[in-house]
């Protein structure tokens, strides 16, 4: 019966309740790191790690966290995991760490993590919360990977740093710059909402 719950949570997080294109959370990093597929993957792994474990921790501690200071406690738990991600990244992939710059630290204020902690981990069992955190992270990741793939392909003519489009391709430099990120995410939201989530009405 627990497995069934986990499945429900997983399916919801990947699709119908997806944090990025349904709840429009975690947009900062969605836009900022998606101009390069490698950076995006690292960012996603960092986020999955942080959401999963912070959800687990918060859920395990939920009966000891006083109601009044719970935001503070949650933030501190999240920050602790982000520091781990930051240190590991600096040690193993210094180049990517430098390119991501402050966005690794900004995982702390990524609304997805705070949202999952508030909405899920404070009322559910640790194991289920862990699954919820990880799948919410994966839901975020697949959207980012799609956007990053398209932006890198169109903006630099490469995939994973390897040139796939020949010289005939005129690079859309706007795609790797700020406006391209906004347009790409808007198109993604449009396609997904218009095509696959039609029955929800889309009125918000």
């Amino acid at each position: 019966m627990n497995l069934k719950k986990m499945r429900t949570v997983t399916i919801a997080n990947l699709g119908r309740e997806n944090q990025v294109f349904v709840h429009v959370l975690g947009i900062c990093s969605t836009l900022a790191v998606t101009n390069d597929l490698r950076n995006t993957l690292v960012m996603c792994l960092g986020l999955i790690f942080t959401t999963g474990l912070s959800n687990l921790t918060i859920s395990a501690l939920r009966s000891w966290i006083p109601q009044r200071v719970r935001m503070m406690v949650t933030t501190l738990i999240i920050a602790a995991y982000v520091i781990i991600v930051d240190i590991v990244l600096k040690a193993t992939a210094p180049d990517i760490s430098r390119q991501l710059g402050p966005y690794v630290g900004l995982i702390i204020t990524n609304c997805i993590i705070m949202g999952r902690a508030e909405a899920f981990a404070l009322t559910n069992r640790p194991l289920l919360s862990l699954v919820d955190g990880i799948t919410a992270g994966i839901g975020y990741s697949w959207v980012l990977m799609v956007i990053a793939f398209l932006r890198e392909l169109m903006g630099s003519g490469t995939v994973w740093g390897i040139a796939v489009l020949g010289d005939w391709w005129v690079k859309w430099s706007i795609m790797v710059m700020a406006p391209g990120a906004f347009f790409m995410l808007a198109l993604f939201v449009w396609v997904v909402k218009g095509r696959f989530l039609r029955d929800e009405g889309g009125a918000k």
Binding site: S29, M72, P102, T109, P179, K193, G194, A203
Partner: protein, 198 residues
């Protein structure tokens, strides 16, 4: 653009326009999308952000260079910065509530939102990465805040008009807001030539 190089005015101008924290660095998007439906509330939140960002950049600068670096605690900066911001916001909320009722009505409800606004933490991290001095950091914080204010108020103005427009299905809400933000980002890119920055 690091070191002692850029003057204060250049930093301010760059933070407001060419390097707008929202439109080129994508920070503070969540509240930007959520609270940009009305110009009045947008101004309120924007003003609160300007205030908190200016003050916390100064505090965070002092904490980082006089407390964290001497004790070699650089890796704790994320935790410390977020605590500083949260504590400052809480303090300001209490002071404003005591001192001025109308100001509390205008800004009070926005203050808790600011703690989780990534632009504040982002500004603090950027000022460390760019090695700004104290004066430069304060100016940078103020400039980023003003830039955020300009962007969210402009956005709210456009969205108020948009209520009467017919928007394709699926694009209403977040979708159209992102497209507007994209067009605004293109417009702000036009400022890049003005100071010879890139």
């Amino acid at each position: 653009m690091s070191g002692q190089g850029p003057g204060l005015f250049t930093i301010f101008f760059a933070a407001v326009f060419t390097g707008n924290i929202l439109l080129t660095l994508y920070l503070g998007m969540c509240s930007f999308l959520a609270v940009s439906r009305q110009v009045r509330t947008a101004i309120g939140l924007g003003a609160a952000v300007v205030f908190v960002m200016t003050a916390t950049s100064a505090i965070n600068w002092l904490v980082y260079y006089y407390l964290l670096l001497p004790f070699d605690l650089d890796h704790l900066k994320y935790i410390v910065f977020i605590i500083v911001v949260a504590a400052f916001v809480q303090l300001v909320e209490m002071v404003i509530e005591r001192v001025s009722e109308p100001l509390y009505q205008a800004l009070g409800i926005f203050l808790p939102l600011i703690t989780v606004n990534c632009a504040i933490l982002g500004a603090a991290l950027f000022m460390i990465i760019r090695h700004y001095s104290l004066a430069q950091s304060v100016v940078y914080g103020a400039g980023s805040g003003v830039g955020w204010l300009v962007a969210i108020v402009a956005m709210a103005g456009i969205r108020e008009r948009l209520k009467n427009a017919r928007i394709p299905r699926g694009l209403d809400g977040a979708g159209i807001a992102l497209i507007i933000a994209g067009i605004m980002a293109m417009a702000f890119m036009g400022f890049a030539g003005m100071l010879g920055l890139n």
